[in-house]
């Protein structure tokens, strides 16, 4: 179970701007962007392509840097951390789930799930045990030694979720996790995310184009041209 109280401020973005440079051309994705995400929220980010949803996810996960402004996690400035500090922070606090699963093809399901645990001081046995627990949570305990190519898309995404939660992070950042799945598989994955949010207290921030997926979230934001609008809020 994740530490901290549900409802307290987890991520805070203040006056964030993000500019991409393409030669002489500057593309401004965000300007004076502000956002607050609370612990235990299940946030869906929707919006047209190129609106900055994935960029926002990358900024929150420390995979990208703001051009100006502040990003705070539990009151700590992420934008001021060095690369190695950011990597260490990521390994403890954030799990990523990608649209195309991004499993390592030469590793079995359980080995893929063990990957983030290689950064911990856990023993080999303990790592394996934790990885099995994570796979149990996504109902894949009977597919431990399957290579990704032997698994269906839905199963691969569940392995990716297991990998994301293996080190028990507070936050899951999901970039169109159901984008490559059929409805049934997508619903299975979304049920798991919902359960991780409700039963295990994980804060989930999910980029999606799918209104059906967004219905699983407690809060839905619409992002367009760097502006945020709240479509739905449980609060």
């Amino acid at each position: 179970m994740t530490e901290g109280s549900r409802g307290e401020e987890l991520f805070t973005l203040r006056h964030v701007s993000k500019i991409f440079r393409n030669g002489d051309e500057k593309v401004e994705i965000f300007s004076d962007f502000n956002l607050s995400i609370r612990r235990g929220q299940f946030v869906a980010l929707m919006g047209p392509s190129g609106s900055g949803k994935s960029t926002l996810l990358n900024l929150l996960g420390g995979l990208d840097r703001v051009s100006s402004g502040e990003i705070l996690y539990e009151g700590r400035r992420l934008d001021q951390l060095r690369e190695n500090e950011l990597a260490a922070w990521r390994s403890r606090n954030v799990g990523f789930v990608f649209q195309s699963y991004n499993l390592i093809p030469v590793l079995t399901a359980v080995q893929n799930v063990e990957l983030p645990l290689l950064l911990t001081k856990l023993s080999g046995k303990k790592r394996r045990a934790n990885a099995k627990v994570a796979l149990q949570l996504v109902d894949l305990e009977n597919r431990l030694n399957y290579l990704p190519r032997k698994l269906s898309g839905g199963q691969q995404q569940r392995v990716a979720i297991a990998r994301a939660i293996a080190s028990d992070p507070a936050v899951l950042l999901c970039d169109e996790p159901t984008g490559n799945l059929d409805r049934s598989s997508a619903d299975g994955v979304l049920q798991i995310l919902k359960s991780l949010n409700e039963d295990h207290g994980k804060t989930i921030i999910m980029v999606t184009h799918d209104p059906a997926a967004a219905r699983f979230a407690s809060t839905t934001y619409h992002l367009d041209k760097g502006q945020l609008a709240t479509l739905k809020s449980a609060a």
């Binding site: 991409f20 960029t55 080995q111 990957l115 950064l119 990998r163």
Partner: protein, 385 residues
């Protein structure tokens, strides 16, 4: 699952590429081991403390000196002992068994070479007293199956006897062991008197004069003194210290050592480029996965270490068997009975050098690809901006 396991899994992705890469590295280190061993074989101990000088004909070491020079040198100040030698290139039974016989003044020569040659006192005495006696190195005796007390005939290649024959009969009086690398442990020693009496041409000449300077005397001064003595004579001399002589002798093989250096360097640079290219390809194929690892919390430094570790693993996996096969090849050459390779060996220092070369190969070969791989930006590599 461990980081080593991850490295191993990554390496086994493309088995054919791995096998070819390992084979390239394997061949490079077989070459490395054999060539460096050959190079070591050509090296001569030129450590200090040697008071000996070698006097040769100034024109060339193949031109002789009058034997009368020996007595003249002996009279000089600062000269402690003098001896001389002529060589008789011969073969035993078949031309495939070549031997170099040095015709020496036995007592003075063995006295001068006592640091290099070990022979039992009784055998030494027997050789000194026996005009047709022969002193054989242990290596040559083993190779040709010779033993003390045996009578043998050697055939000279260029020197004819007064009776027109080229056959020289000897009685083996002793077997010696070469104590230092200055003696190649291959030569045979005969009496100079026997050669001088029986040879058709070149009588009363010697090929080299060995001099030991008196303790405390400056070797260069003694050498100059000798050369000045014979300056402006029909046969001028060139005197150098024994260590310089050995170096100069080896310098004649300068091109061989240069070729060794060039071949080893070329092999290494080629393999280095192959490793760099292969690693570059391997890392480029995995850019997306590296980005995923970064998103999981792997730092750039950790990814860099993983990549270099992968290259090191490959380098050791190909290199160590290469060195072991080189060792087997060197041993095979030594035991083959070939005169040239009788002293070849692959000491531990070559293994240490080889291991250092493997680390360098991995480090240099993977440095740039690993740096590039480690600096991958996940947001770009994952195709989402």
């Amino acid at each position: 699952m461990t980081l080593t396991g991850l490295v191993r899994k990554n390496l086994l992705r493309r088995k054919l590429r791995l096998v070819l890469l390992l084979f390239s590295i394997f061949i490079a280190f077989v070459l490395f081991g054999v060539l460096i061993s050959f190079d070591q074989m050509l090296k001569v101990d030129t450590s200090g403390g040697d008071r000996r000088l070698v006097v040769l004909n100034k024109i060339s070491y193949t031109e002789p000196l009058p034997v009368s020079y020996v007595a003249e040198v002996r009279r000089l100040n600062g000269v402690d002992a003098v001896s001389y030698a002529s060589w008789l290139l011969s073969f035993y039974q078949r031309r495939t068994n070549p031997v170099v016989v040095y015709a020496v003044e036995p007592s003075s020569f063995l006295d001068l070479q006592s640091d290099d040659i070990a022979v039992a006192p009784a055998r030494r005495d027997a050789f000194v007293k026996d005009r047709v006696g022969l002193l054989v190195s242990d290596n040559t005796a083993k190779k040709l199956g010779l033993r003390v007390g045996q009578n043998i005939a050697l055939s000279s290649l260029a020197v004819f006897k007064t009776d027109g024959s080229q056959s020289w009969t000897f009685h083996i009086d002793g077997i010696y062991h070469a104590k230092s690398s200055r003696d190649d442990g291959l030569a045979l020693y005969m009496h100079a008197e026997y050669l001088n009496e029986a040879r058709l041409t070149g009588k009363d000449t010697v090929d080299m004069i060995w001099v030991r300077s008196s303790p405390g005397r400056n070797l260069d001064a003694v050498a100059s003194q000798i050369d000045n003595l014979f300056a402006n004579s029909p046969v001028e001399t060139k005197t150098s210290s024994a260590s310089e002589f050995a170096k100069a002798f080896i310098a004649q093989l300068g091109n061989v050592t240069l070729v060794i250096t060039l071949v080893t360097s070329a092999a290494f640079i080629t393999i280095l480029l192959i490793v760099a290219n292969t690693m570059s390809m391997a890392f480029r194929e995995r850019t997306r996965e590296l980005a995923v690892l970064k998103s999981l919390g792997f730092s750039s430094a950790r990814l860099f270490r993983l990549m270099v570790g992968e290259a090191l693993f490959v380098s050791l996996l190909g290199g160590i068997p290469g060195l072991l096969v080189a060792h087997a090849a060197v041993t095979g050459l030594r035991l083959s009975g070939s005169t040239i390779f009788q002293k070849i060996d692959m000491p531990g220092s070559v293994f240490v050098l080889g291991l250092i070369a493997m680390v360098l190969l991995a480090g240099l070969g993977s440095l740039l690809p690993a740096l590039r791989a480690a600096s991958v930006r996940p947001s770009v590599a994952l195709g989402k901006v």
